[in-house]
Symmetry: C2
């Protein structure tokens, strides 16, 4: 049986209050008793019982995270960031990976069981409105990442602006006829990336050819998949329309599919057509993809930090932190690195407050 503070108290001949004080580094204990208690505690191999502590302290020192697992490559990186950040803070993580959207509600309900978690990290999905009331009355801090919700602190990627930078990059490389392979338009990022793309083209008085802009209709991973990229490109190819000299693709993983589809027709990247994509997942480097990097690991770390911050400072108005993705120039766009060095350090963090 594991030792309790009673055991320690008895053996060290002090009261349990004193033991608790020592264990919690309260200053009001003599060095002498402190030493005695500590030595007994370590002899007994004492470990505080987390739940008893949580019950008495009214906080659990654990955070919850709801992450869509269908965003494979994205969430791995984010998760790594979360874990590393947590490790230093002494918080634990209760993870709920959502494979299907209908798991969200169930999870929130279950984990809001009073006291289970001190705060919630909510990733890449529309936050269910059903719960904002509940969340508020339970007073549990929430950070929404990669999605916007006016009631909570948010960390968002500037998708529109990122798409603009990507498109602009292609234009500055001399391309005037550019297509886009997009994910499912029902997803927020896909929508924003498309509008950034189109806006840049029209801003530069370039033609928008709808026949070379295709959005996935796949529901699987919202079209952010290799399959989807492959299929979309095949679709364009089958139309037998004039191919543009460049494509903006809404994710790296799709770009890999795009490149395969192209290769099957003997069309080479970047020689025949240039490609710029989005995300900068690990494979992007291997495939020499020029891409808009989302600092996924950092977003995980930031999310944790924001949440801890929010736990300590409830009551202040929700904030929005936006991240401008960074252009990483590799080979797929056909640019020589030196030409575009100026783009590389474009990474900026804006932080601003929303009026309530």
């Amino acid at each position: 049986m594991a030792a309790t503070i009673y055991d320690i108290a008895r053996e060290a001949k002090v009261g349990i209050g004193t033991v608790s004080r020592v264990l919690n580094n309260s200053p009001k204990v003599t060095q002498q008793t402190r030493d005695r208690v500590i030595s007994v505690a370590s002899r007994l191999n004492y470990q505080p019982h987390a739940f008893a502590q949580a019950l008495a302290r009214k906080r659990s020192n654990t955070l919850g995270a709801i992450i869509p697992f269908f965003t494979n490559y994205f969430f791995i990186e984010v998760l790594k960031g979360i874990q590393d950040a947590l490790l230093n803070l002494g918080y634990d993580l209760i993870l709920h990976g959502v494979n299907h959207r209908d798991q969200i509600n169930e999870y929130i309900r279950k984990n809001l069981k009073k006291g289970r978690i001190d705060g919630l990290l909510f990733f890449s999905m529309p936050f269910p409105d059903t719960f904002v009331e509940v969340i508020k009355q339970e007073e549990i801090p929430v950070i929404v990442i990669d999605y916007f919700h006016p009631s909570f602190d948010c960390i968002c990627v500037k998708n529109t602006e990122g798409a603009m930078v990507a498109t602009q990059h292609l234009i500055s490389l001399g391309h005037t006829d550019i297509g886009m392979i997009n994910a499912n338009i029902t997803s927020e990022p896909a929508k924003d990336r498309l509008s950034g793309f189109k806006e840049t083209l029209s801003h530069q008085n370039l033609q928008i050819r709808d026949e070379i802009i295709v959005s996935s209709i796949s529901r699987k991973q919202d079209g952010f998949s290799r399959d989807s990229g492959y299929t979309s490109m095949k679709e364009i190819l089958s139309k037998k329309v004039k191919l543009p000299t460049a494509f903006f693709v809404s994710s790296d993983i799709q770009a890999i599919g795009v490149i395969s589809a192209l290769a099957e027709e003997g069309i080479r990247v970047p020689d025949d057509v240039a490609v710029v994509s989005f995300d900068d997942i690990e494979l992007a480097r291997h495939f020499e993809l020029t891409t808009m990097r989302q600092p996924m690991y950092d977003m995980g770390v930031m999310a944790v930090e924001k949440l801890i911050d929010r736990i300590k400072n409830p009551g202040t108005p929700p904030t929005l932190t936006t991240i401008l993705p960074k252009l990483i120039v590799r080979k797929s766009c056909g640019a020589r690195k030196s030409e575009h060095a100026e783009f590389i350090d474009h990474n900026t963090l804006y932080s601003s407050e929303i009026e309530k």
Copy 2:
């Protein structure tokens, strides 16, 4: 403030004991009082306080998992399996992703805090001997997956046998000169896959040419990476030795690197050289890799089930469950599917007990 059983008791005009009984489906309550309590509870939007429950019940209904994050593609799938299995069982998951091996100890120590978790899932790493004593005296059930340890229930992949099947497949396709691209030999799976490979060759009286067998020396992800595959193949290519007609590669992700390296020399897969790899990660399908499938998702599910089982039945001797990976024939080996249909259903589960 959240409602407690006291609130319910007061409003339903019963004692807290009765409320508790109703909530726990104890049969010894009249339908009438039961209904009354339930209606009050739902009106108050009552949720049991998880920690109070855990404290009183002496179990937490949460499981811990220690997973190496550096096995990217592997752990995602496993995690999905775990989550889905957990969802049905009403257990929560405290996840600890290990980015560096030295985090393991810290995590175990912290989470063994009595009561934190009811059981532990330990993945793909050598279980630290320092803790087997602790684990045993704390009586916390442990399942080790993808690694063997005599003290615990284990779920292992038959790497040696898997490599044999892969190699045999290549041989049966008519190849007599086969090379291998391996991960870092310090890792158990790499070691086993190599020995399975060699054994099959010698068993078939085929020559083992050391110059076309290369093990990665990378410590990063133990050499199970695209980079490592790419580099290893480049190394062989640079030796200017006679290329074999086929390669067995120790993981899909390496195979992708291998294929790129080959492609850079104009060598095509499977036309010029056949490739069979290991894992069957999501990308394997996209790259048309013939590979030995490890049922990663299923392993996650099984792990959870085994753990729950072990929690319910302590005391029985540890078991070993082995999984024979399944040959998935795609294009990279150059076989027509029909030729080798017989291999496809090779998947078998062996379960056996170890004598203590």
